[in-house]
Subunit: 358 residues, 2 copies
DNA sequence: GTGAAAGCGCTAACAT
DNA sequence: ATGTTAGCGCTTTCAC
């Protein structure tokens, strides 16, 4: 008995037309808001629409129009807060302009990214918001260029000669982290990251390094990065600490690194910030409720999304100016995971100390 | 200079036809894999397709077909790991069958949920995977029924008289949690939740309560739920502890509750599991790297997604059997946040104790 | 085996 | 101010 009620044909524009006693063209005009229609007829159309429960078929409508009112969004993954809220934001912004957002996950694969892009091209989307797996020089951006697609590149990009780009200002944010750590007296800092070839991750590293060295030329900065996945990063980190290295602070250039660092600390029974300080690029909801709360760089998701959509629609509407490269400022949230080196256990907002009941 | 290369018309099936010296109908047949075409002509078609870089326009194709090869997915949010991986899974499964998944977020609003559904109806999607904001009795499911849409309901549902449903077996998982907590000697347990009217959350509560009482009839179970959002839950919890209530364990029926509980513990300087034990429904990546690691009920995302798609496509292909209600088993992951009451600080895998370097 | 013809539901010229 | 005509790009009878 489920779902078997005959799904009879939905009313088409012609049904409305005949019920209203006008032509389909007139119905179309009324619904498009053309004002040159006789008010009486317009009213009859509205009545018929109401009575039949008519709604325009957006696909049929797009079929006839020059450009389809669909925006494609390609994210490396959907599982993280960052990309999850990015999609939510983009969806809202697309809707506001009467477009539908079709989102797809490249699952951190450049091959898949290109395939998805091809599929979106088949769909003849009006534009694409691409958060590339690696950077602006991947095969996906090349595909977009080759096929004359309109698009914006976001997140893991800095600038491009063909597309507008929008991303967090990694360099500035990292410099800010450096100021805070150096200011707290740290002089041996480990930076961990993934995919060093991504321009943004490099910017995060360089922003940190340059500012740190400027403030304290004798600071020791160790760097551990891993190209591919998170597993080798974990083992490198394990080796590093296993060799007896004891930096007083760790700066993780990406969320997964922060998790790895935390779990390695745990494994060794180290606590933040007494035994070691920790800051991560990318914030997450849980970071403010764990004990200690984890300091993090917060990326301006809303601004990135809205700027990206602004630029994209400018292009969709035909603007052909030179591509722009936007960097949106981040916020650095200092939390309890950062202390001063050598101040020992139970000193820096440390363990089992009663926090203020604010 | 960006994006201005004239995006010349893409080759249509007629272009392929003329290049191959056959009719559009034949091209269509070849591409559809019809075998009754003369091999020689088929080859010429493939050649032309190759030379022109032709790809069928899926929308135009769907236009003519009876049913469009689009599946809609509506999730309450995209920001959590659970729904993020759900979308990823669904996307893959839809693709496998040659369908495109169009996902949308209802942002925890039933009003928006219904609007999105209407839009998907406009799109004439072949089917919908709906994860309703509240439960199977909301306006969205009613809309689907009223319009004869095909669909599956997942996650916050138990069973329905019109649609197949797939969700985690909340009842059984909660009973398992009860066994573990009671087994550890807890006799005063606080259960916290949101949206008590959601059938699944009620199942989580009842599964826990019935099993706990069966094992220890004198167990004290306090329940704090809040209808709307997370803020009132937080203040109720604050009041509760403020009154001097001191359960030895907290079971949170949903992820956000786990975060609230943790942050309230923090605020009071309590540590798990020495001061209080904690288990949460819904696992998250960070829970295994914090100290202590948080015990959690893991929902079988992949199974739910794949079962949902199986059922959905059965309907899409015309099956009209009675609706089924599937419950997929969860896994309960005990972690360090759970200890035994009264065993005091530093006893139950507690603070600053060196964990084994496994 | 293959192609001509007829649309899917809509909109944009062009007449009137 | 409105209707007629001609498609958008494709698939599908149904003749040949």
């Amino acid at each position: 008995m489920a779902q078997q009620e005959a799904r009879q044909r939905r009313p088409s524009i012609h049904d409305v037309a005949s019920h209203a006693g006008v032509s389909a063209a007139t119905v179309s005009k009324v619904l498009a808001g053309v004002t040159t229609v006789k008010p009486e007829n317009a009213q009859r159309v509205f009545d018929a629409v109401e009575r039949l429960g008519y709604r325009v078929d957006p696909l049929a409508s797009d079929m006839r129009r020059a450009k389809r009112r669909i925006i494609g969004a390609i994210m490396p993954e959907f599982e993280s807060e960052f990309f999850g809220s990015m999609v939510t934001e983009l969806e809202g912004l697309a809707e506001q302009r009467g477009y539908t957002l079709v989102a797809a996950s490249s699952r951190e694969s450049e091959a898949r990214e290109k395939e998805i892009l091809a599929r979106m091209h088949d769909w003849r989307v009006a534009g694409v918001v691409l958060a590339p797996v690696r950077n602006e020089h991947g095969p996906a951006a090349a595909f977009m260029k080759a096929h004359g697609m309109t698009g914006v590149l976001i997140d893991r990009v800095l600038s491009d000669d063909a597309f507008d780009t929008v991303s967090a200002d990694s360099f500035a944010a990292s410099a800010e982290v450096a100021r805070m750590l150096i200011g707290n007296g740290h002089s041996h800092i480990l930076v961990i990251g993934l995919a060093e070839q991504a321009a943004t991750v490099r910017a995060r590293l360089e922003g940190f390094r340059s500012q740190a060295l400027a403030l304290n030329p004798s600071v020791r900065i160790d760097v551990i990065t891993s190209e591919v996945s998170v597993a080798p990063l974990r083992s490198s980190l394990r080796d590093y600490f296993g060799r007896g290295e004891r930096p007083t602070a760790v700066y993780s250039l990406l969320l997964k690194g922060t998790l790895v660092a935390l779990s390695e600390f745990r494994r060794r029974g180290w606590h933040c910030p007494d035994d070691i300080s920790l800051v991560g690029f990318d914030d997450a909801e849980w970071m403010q409720v764990t004990w200690p709360a984890i300091a993090a760089v917060v990326q301006p998701v809303r601004q990135i999304a809205s700027e990206a959509m602004n630029l994209l629609f400018r292009r969709v509407e035909g603007d052909a100016g030179p591509p722009t490269a936007r960097l949106e400022p981040c916020q650095v949230l200092m939390r309890e995971s950062v202390g001063s080196p050598g101040s020992g256990p139970h000193s820096g907002g440390g363990d089992r100390q009663q926090p203020p009941l604010s």
